[in-house]
């Protein structure tokens, strides 16, 4: 049933890849160690008799009781600078250390694959044990090593390592320090499971696992209700997507009889192109992807997720977890290519999300919220890429986005860190994340300033930064598929596919324009213009320590040059499309179905035109923001006036949260409480049926007791009537 190649026959079988299972195990070990450290310090077991009361034990607990003395305000609580965790040094070693080990291991395998490149046409499946054998179903705990999973593993472990190192600086003073690293390590474990799993169920384990860690990390400072709420919201919204993932798996198993990537891919090749089955499977998978990757309609959790510590936002909510949906679709490339309608859906939803989120990003004041909406928007881009069957383009953008968005988040983390330190030094309680309180940070944080600009230019799509190449490739792919592909011939809601693709292309350009605008706006308000932090506070603003800026520099380099791995053939000659070629064994089959036998080729003139348009749009966006926005006119948050009209609507994110609350959350709770619980349960079943029958019994009993008057006369009557009845029963038989 499983089409996995025999481990012994595979070229990777005798190499270090055999020990690939160690890659996720390292972070798992880290999680266990850090978790134990966190608990050991957190609490001694209580008294032998809990009801005896817990007084008199407080003495043992001074300074160690809190696991996460969160602060209403992002991170560092006033009273807790002295409360640096006792095991902090050990944790600082374990946390990033295990990640570095995994990264090294990944690089070793990567090198190995590079060496045997041509031989690795088949993925290497490393089976550990049988996980869920039941009847015809057989799910193995097995890892799949191929070019795609290696790219993802490198991103996860590589960027993960950088962010872990950054966290050492950022979170050092938090009393929940070991707990933080425990969660972070656990997240990496699950993320690796997600990208390394060889079957959908195993991927689902990672899928849910990262959601869980995201839940825990968003709610890291759980003492603030808003944070705990945000974590819960993320998990539940993700669960809606998971429902789609589950149903897709049911459909696959019921129809293909297997759930491994290889098996499903093979079965999908035999399915009918555009058939109802594959379309349904793909749409349900995409529902799963919208949840995890924050697309319309399930994007609402991601902005709230910024309640977590900033490195978490960088790692989970920008670089890795949220791209899982893109990875899922790339993994199911054949499946999606067999269902053009589903592909168009993915592309349209992606494009709409890209524009929609960008509009909201235009008016946010919280620096992390800007980045959050920017992430949603960029994820939309990736979906456009994988949606039109340009899977390698989607993965390419995933990669570059991981670089520059991680950089942006960590940079903003540096800024927030500095702001916080400044406010803390002056005992002020202003919002350290509000851009209206920043301004002119260029002078105080020059390194961060430069690096952030690199990332901004990259995301805006200015050559030669990485974002330009990936974004351009996606837009070019969309344009190329407007004619001659399976997509162009399909119909989406009755609209011809080519028309839809033109629409997607235009939406993509619009999103690019707005991206350039809001990113420039963010840079202007944060780093340029006068400082609005406050006079006393400004003196305390300074660059973060090197343990934090170091990873930023690495990411800056990657953001700047990362795009060169996949330059178009148009001008790069023999260095062109290297990532594309690398991924070709995994993705070519899917892309091939969409493009047909010969593939599609744009003329050079068209390609140059498209490139010119893209650059022009980005440049216009930056120019608009640069000329129209006046950072000098801004006032600090506490003096700012409330927005009105469309600005207010944008600030409130088109009131989507409110709408969901009114149409979904409140009615569900209301129906559950009034109709189901009080109505059916207490009212009908217990009230009418249970107590009703009790009432009938009681009524009969009451009637019987009335006969029991104690008066002989009555008894005589009853007796006689009884005798009469019995006699008549005999006589009228």
């Amino acid at each position: 049933m499983q089409t996995e190649p025999l481990a012994t026959g595979h070229p990777l079988a005798d190499t270090i890849a055999r020990f690939a299972w160690l890659i996720p195990v390292f972070p798992l070990v880290g999680f266990v160690l850090n978790g134990l450290l966190s608990l050991r310090a957190a609490g001694h077991p209580g008294p032998a008799d809990p009801s005896a009361g817990g007084h008199g034990h407080d003495g043992h607990h001074r300074g160690t009781g809190g696991t996460g003395d969160g602060h209403a305000d992002h991170g560092h609580d006033d009273g807790h600078h002295a409360a640096r965790h006792p095991a902090a040094a050990l944790v600082s070693l374990i946390g990033p250390g295990v990640l570095a080990l995994s990264f090294a291991m990944t690089l070793a395998i990567l090198y190995q694959v590079w060496v045997v490149d041509n031989a690795l046409r088949e993925p290497y499946v490393l089976t550990l044990f049988s996980w869920m054998p039941a009847g015809k179903l057989s799910v193995d705990a097995a890892f799949q090593i191929d070019q795609l999973s290696l790219v993802m593993m490198s991103i996860v472990t590589g960027i993960g390592t950088l962010i872990h190192i950054f966290s050492v600086g950022y979170m050092q003073d938090d009393p929940g320090y070991p707990r933080y690293f425990a969660y972070l390590n656990l997240f990496i474990f699950f993320m690796l499971l997600l990208v390394m799993g060889s079957s959908y169920p195993l991927m689902f384990v990672g899928w849910e696992g990262v959601g869980l860690c995201s839940y825990l990390l968003i709610g890291f400072w759980f003492s603030d209700k808003a944070n705990a709420d945000a974590g819960k919201k993320a998990f539940i919204v993700n669960r809606i997507g998971d429902f789609g993932f589950l149903v897709a798996m049911f459909l696959m198993f019921a129809n293909f009889g297997t759930l491994t990537f290889a098996g499903v891919g093979e079965a999908a090749m035999g399915a009918q192109l555009g058939g109802a089955l594959v379309t349904a499977i793909c749409l349900f998978l995409f529902l799963g992807a919208t949840g995890k990757s924050a697309q319309i309609p399930l994007f609402v959790w991601l902005p709230d997720a910024m309640a977590g510590p900033t490195p978490v936002s960088a790692l989970i909510h920008a670089a890795t977890m949220v791209t899982a949906g893109v990875y899922l679709i790339a993994r199911s490339a054949v499946l999606f290519s067999m269902a053009p309608v589903a592909q168009l859906t993915v592309a349209v939803v992606g494009a709409l999300t890209a524009v929609f989120a960008a509009t909201i990003g235009l008016k946010q004041w919280d620096i992390k919220k800007v980045l959050a909406y920017s992430t949603v928007s960029q994820l939309g881009y990736m979906f456009v890429g994988v949606g039109v069957g340009a899977y390698s383009a989607g993965v390419f953008h995933l990669m570059t986005h991981a670089f520059f968005k991680a950089l942006l988040f960590l940079g903003s983390g540096s800024v927030i860190y500095a702001m916080h330190k400044a406010y803390h030094a002056t005992h002020s309680h202003e919002d350290a994340q509000d851009m209206r309180n920043m301004g002119g940070l260029r002078k105080h944080m020059p390194v961060t300033f430069v690096l952030m600009w690199i990332a901004t230019l990259s995301i805006a799509g200015i050559p030669p930064f990485s974002g330009f190449f990936s974004k351009d490739e996606i837009l070019a792919s969309v344009f190329a598929r407007t004619h001659g592909s399976t997509l162009a011939e399909a119909h989406w809601l009755g609209i011809p596919g080519s028309v839809v693709l033109y629409g997607v292309y235009v939406l993509g350009l619009a999103a690019a324009l707005m991206t350039a605008i809001y990113m420039t706006r963010m840079m202007l308000y944060t780093f340029h213009g006068p400082n609005r932090t406050g006079e006393k506070e400004a003196a305390h603003l300074k660059e973060a320590p090197w343990i934090m800026t170091g990873p930023l520099v690495v990411l800056g380099v990657l953001s700047a040059v990362g795009g060169f791995v996949n330059m178009p053939a148009l001008y790069a000659g023999e260095y062109s499309e290297q990532l594309h070629a690398w991924l070709e064994p995994v993705l070519a089959e899917g892309t091939g179905i969409t493009l047909g036998e010969e593939g599609l080729h744009l003329s050079h003139a068209t390609e140059w035109t498209l490139i010119a348009i893209a650059i022009a749009i980005a440049a216009i966006g930056i120019a608009i923001a640069w000329t129209r926005l006046k950072p000098e006119a801004l006032v600090a948050a506490k003096d700012a006036k409330a927005e009105e009209g469309i600005e207010k609507t944008l600030l409130h994110k088109w009131y989507v949260d409110e709408a969901y609350d009114k149409t979904v959350v409140k009615p569900t709770l209301g129906i559950s409480r009034t109709l189901l619980w009080k109505g059916i349960d207490t009212g009908i079943i217990d009230g009418l049926l249970v107590n009703g029958s009790a009432l009938v019994v009681r009524a009969v009993g009451w009637a019987g007791s009335q006969l029991q008057s104690g008066r002989v006369g009555t008894y005589a009557w009853v007796l006689l009537i009884g005798v009469l009845s019995v006699l008549s029963a005999f006589s009228f038989r």
Binding site: G46, A48, P50, A134, G209, S223, L669, S672
Partner: protein, 529 residues
Amino acid sequence: MTQFLDGIGYNGWILPTLLALPLLGALLMVLQGSMQKQDPDAAMRSARSLAFGIFLAEAVLSLGLWWSVDTVSPDWQAYVDAAWIPQWGARFTVGVDGIALMLILLTTLLMPLTVLGSWTSIRVKTHAYYALLLILTTGMLGVFMALDLVFFYVMWEVMLVPMYLIIGIWGGQRRLYASLKFSLYTMVGSLLMLVAIVYLGLKAGQGGPPVFAYDAVLDMARTMPLAGSFWLFGAFAIAFAVKVPMFPFHTWLPDAHVEAPTAGSVILAAIMLKMGTFGFVRFAVPLFPAVAMHPTVRMVMLVLAVIGIVYGALVALVQPDFKKLVAYSSVSHLGFVMLGIFAMTTESMQGALMVTISHGISTGALFLLIGMIYERRHTRLIEDFGGIAKVMPIFAVCLTIVSLSSIGVPGTNGFVGEFLVLIGSFPTAPYYTIIAATSVIFAAAYLLWAVQRIIYNPLVKPENEALKGNDLNWREIGLLTPLLIAILWLGVYPRPVLQKTEAAAERLVRGVEAGRMGSLGPRPRIGGR
């Protein structure tokens, strides 16, 4: 191990011993209780140690079943058959297969933990309490191993009385109401079942003395005309549906759970509800496959199962009392079991069994945790808590893990069962499965919301701040550890359990399939050794 067990004739005496040991223990308990009456504290200490010792012995003894039982063999294992009431044709017949094996082990392994859970919370009439627990254990084990319908019925009723007393004497405020509701509901169902059993026994006797042996009744029942077996199936089904509980018969459960003492809730959720699903698997469905798989009957059962799943989850969402919330979540989980049974594929059947076991573990653990916090705070209302994670971090970790298991997050036991049920049910009941799958959303919603309001959020209430330094003690940690290990072990490596139950599930499915077509087909098991 197998050889050693064979050497001591383990299979020959283990089942009667497992039944007798708790009864002897109860006797011992009563004797001990009658000897020392003065000091309730001393009585509590002696009673709980004795009970723990007996339950531990029982657990250790039963462990041998894991090796001694050949789950692939078509024979009943550890089969013992002896005369009991010859005048009625009732015999003492016990034996197990893979399914019963798992439930018996679940029972014996969970009981010592319930004693630990009652360690300090039961302070009055301790000897009587533990004696009742012991008698209850005999009843539960008897139900799982009975292969004679009268013996089964007797054991079924034996369970009822101790539980009634446990709720009624050591329960909460409205304990009398709850215990009465519990017993009335169960009795109504079991009386119908008694009628059906008597009818079947007489019919199987073919005019001679009645025969209640499972195998004989099975052969006879499968040849009955559809119209007649419909009523018999109905009688069995109502008795079991009340116990499960399925949707319209579930309202006794929240009351019983809320009012019962911790150990009572644990046993109720972890084991007694499983009597219902076990009854379906052992009696109602295999005896009358043609009725159970009749399109209309099957549709009704599936609809009720799915209603239970979604309805239980939605109602759980709005419960102010954490114990009640867990009770409604049980309704939802047990709906999965019913879905798996009536979808009738090997995968779904194994999934149903997996849910059965993992619900026992995780809901049992949840009730234990509620008991622990209740002992400290004397409230179960969710709104009374908040920020507990700050003062009781170990408790918070345990609650989080157990809740995740109950939600069905992959890597925990809850996922394996739910996933197998759903993926197994999809081919035969696709639409029901899709509706049932929505509960992954609701389950996350109600439990995470509750968990958030209990252990997260700001720590503002002074009563909760006073919990500082009163985190779980070693006894409580020791009691939760086996459960937490089981949660993770069954989530990561459920294969041993699945393997043990596979043969039984497959025979059941094939037998029902054949029985539906009118032929006799393979029976779940044939005869003893």
